[in-house]
């Protein structure tokens, strides 16, 4: 999978590396700002109130 992505990235090594870093950071940002905030209320371990 990762080897395939690496092969698909265009350009010389430096360009590939830059693109790869940008991709990784983009995925982390997506997780941190979109996926995790959406997921978190659906999990149970953050309940602090009695009801």
């Amino acid at each position: 999978m990762y080897a395939w992505i690496w092969r698909k990235l265009p350009g010389p090594f430096a360009a590939k590396l830059t693109l790869a870093v940008v991709l990784v950071l983009g995925v982390i940002a997506l997780l941190m700002f979109v996926v995790f905030p959406w997921l978190e209320p659906r999990l149970w371990f953050n309940e602090v109130a009695v009801n």
Partner: protein, 360 residues
């Protein structure tokens, strides 16, 4: 030559000396033998002699020609860097199933990293998000208090209306208290259970807060002990609550810890006349209950609404958070009782209050 036979010498030594072709060093030391070398010496150790002869394990030992008193040492071809592992034979191409297995492994590793990242998010990143919201709420509350000192705060869902200080957690420990205990309110800071009493009122002013992540305002609630002060600040007053006696201190409270001056105003709330201790028989400074035990925030904790008329109810403050830490299996309940009310016009600020109540 035979005197230097090390364990790995046989595969590196090429006794080609004397033969004109492999000998590359015309000026051979006449002494005859190269100095002993450490076993791991790379090719750069012997710069003039380039590697020659492809297979490392070959030990061709034609008898040295007469007069040969030197030897040629041949190293395995290990590439420029000298790391023997650098040049591996190309891996055989994976078949379809090989590719599938590798991809599955990569997916699993990726999922593991995502889970780790989620933990980082829960423990640290939500703190950052909440810190921003908390400071915004705090500034807004200060602004409102500076402009308008209404006696009864307007309760708007998710909006701060009071502030909690716990002196034993440090002078700078303070969080705004929002109305409501939904996720959005608790992300900003502790939240007030809707419908429970307000600060200073008889009944039970109940507040929930996160223990892990989201600023973790109630992270250290289990470090509180009885008689520790909890200060609730409203637009007009400071309300000083003190944590009620713990279960093991109840019995000998008046003669034991209760006699401590810092426990002034803290009683067991037990009714000596009643056999079971009266309305507050279930109320302790610290209690661990199941999440379903919503009666913990009742006006009289764990008792029905009609057990005491409102005028006779003690003014309590109840803090709830999850328990044990990192789990939501139970809830930690800290209950304290109002001991003092200090109008804000009698003290300059919270620091001044602390020095007056003997905490600073």
């Amino acid at each position: 030559m035979a005197t230097r036979e090390g364990p790995d010498d046989d595969r590196r030594r090429h006794p080609g000396h004397g033969q004109p072709t492999p000998q590359r060093r015309p000026a051979t030391p006449p002494r005859g033998q190269v100095p002993p070398r450490p076993p791991q010496r790379g090719p750069q150790g012997q710069p003039p002699r380039r590697p020659q002869g492809p297979p490392p394990r070959r030990y061709t030992s034609p008898p040295p020609p007469p007069g040969a008193n030197d030897e040629t040492i041949v190293f395995a071809p290990v590439g420029k860097g000298g790391a023997a592992t650098k040049e591996k034979p190309a891996a055989a191409p994976l078949g379809k199933s090989g590719v599938a297995i590798r991809t599955a492994g990569e997916v699993l590793i990726t999922l593991g990293l995502v889970v780790l990242l989620f933990m980082v998010y829960e423990l640290y990143v939500t703190d950052l998000f909440s810190a921003g919201k908390q400071s915004e709420a705090s500034d807004q509350l200060d602004g409102e208090w500076a402009h308008d000192r209404t006696l009864h705060p307007e309760l708007i869902d998710g909006k701060a209306f009071a502030r909690i200080h716990i002196p034993s957690f440090g002078v700078d420990y303070n969080f705004t208290i929002q109305e409501g205990t939904d996720d959005a309110a608790l992300e900003v800071g502790p939240g007030h259970y809707k419908g429970t009493a307000l600060p200073g009122e008889p009944g039970n002013f109940a507040v929930a807060g996160h223990r892990v992540g989201k600023g973790a305002p109630f992270n250290d609630l289990d470090n509180l002990s009885s008689c520790d002060q909890i200060v609730i600040e409203t637009s007009t007053d400071f309300y000083i609550y003190k944590v009620l006696p713990y279960d093991d201190e109840m019995k000998d409270w008046a003669g034991g810890k209760g006699a401590d001056p810092k426990c002034k105003g803290v009683s067991t709330l037990r009714d000596g006349g009643a056999e079971d201790g009266g309305a507050y028989s279930e109320t302790f400074g610290r209690k661990v209950v199941l999440p379903s035990q919503g009666t913990a925030v009742n006006p009289v904790p764990y008792k029905g609404a009609d057990v005491l008329p409102k005028a006779q109810q003690a003014a309590l403050l109840t803090l709830t958070t999850c328990h044990p830490q990192f789990s939501a299996r139970e809830r930690l309940i800290i209950t304290s009782v109002l001991t003092q009310q200090v109008p804000k016009n009698q003290v300059k600020d919270y620091g001044d209050l602390l020095s007056k109540i003997g905490e600073a």
